[in-house]
Amino acid sequence: MDRPVRVLLDVNIFVGNIMAYDRGHKGTATQTLVSMVSGQQWGIANTAQLIISFEMINTLEMVLRRLKYSEDRIKSYSGSIVDIVKYGPDALDPYLILGGEERFAMPDVEDAGVLATAVGAKADILVTDNLKDFTTKDASAVETQVVNTTSSGRRTLQALRYEIGNADLIVAHPFDVMQWMRLGYDFTPRTLWDVIQKSENEFGL
């Protein structure tokens, strides 16, 4: 890719990242993704521009507030994320990335806002654990892998593609994103989607 990959990390990725460090994990998908994006890296050869909206920062702060972190700690964390967006290769401003959630018919207004942010900021990839709520009739879907979870049992992960106007966006689980990165895939949405579809056909998922 000859430009920075625009990456939107959903709130659950940031929360999962803090949780992983809290519980002594090392090298999880969320830890790797947050670390890479904060260092403006994407895989071996690409740079990354983080995308986040004011609304999402607000939700992230709310999660931390509910866990009774001090306001200083919360502001320091969210402030550093804002700086990563501002001083990224495309120098974006989270306060100027507007939603427009009414454009998307989704059951959850918050998720519609996240999708609208990704589309509005021309993200290439939206990384989230919460794929279910991003699956709408406007998205193409491909099954990628099956994982076993304690609370939901067997869960089939999917990759989704939204082509809206000039925007072309892939929505994917962090496990898949890490796998594609290891395999050296090009994250240009159209190219990535072709490869994902081909993989689905080969492995019969």
Partner: protein
């Protein structure tokens, strides 16, 4: 114990200094004090390079370097903020370590619950 130091600067630098102090709602004396603190804390190589760029009036490199320093500072700031949050073990600490997918589902549940409470 504090000491008073004095320095001579050219008119252009003095004007810039007043502008920075005004933009950041500080006194000129406070801005100078911060500048000295930062300067003496930087490695000599960095100080020399910054002074060299300034002497050459290489604005393009100064701006590029400033952006790269801010990007690096943001990354380090995020690492520190994450470690500070994690050190409080409000997510339960090592006793709650489970599989990565379970951790992610828990993170999703917490995020959704917070979004609904807004």
């Amino acid at each position: 114990m504090s000491s008073t130091v004095s320095a001579n600067v050219d008119g252009k630098t003095a004007t810039k200094l007043k502008m920075v102090a005004s933009m950041e709602n500080r006194s000129v004396s406070n801005a100078v004090s911060s500048a000295i603190t930062v300067f003496v804390g930087l490695p000599k190589g960095v100080r020399d390079f910054l002074l060299e760029l300034n002497a050459q009036n290489d604005q393009e490199t100064i701006i590029r370097l400033g952006r790269e320093m801010m990007a690096a500072a943001a990354r380090v700031r995020l690492e520190k903020a994450t470690n500070d949050l994690a050190a409080e073990h409000r997510f339960g600490g090592r006793e709650h370590a489970g599989s990565e997918i379970d951790l992610l589902e828990e993170a999703t549940a917490l995020s959704r619950a917070a979004a609904r409470r807004k």
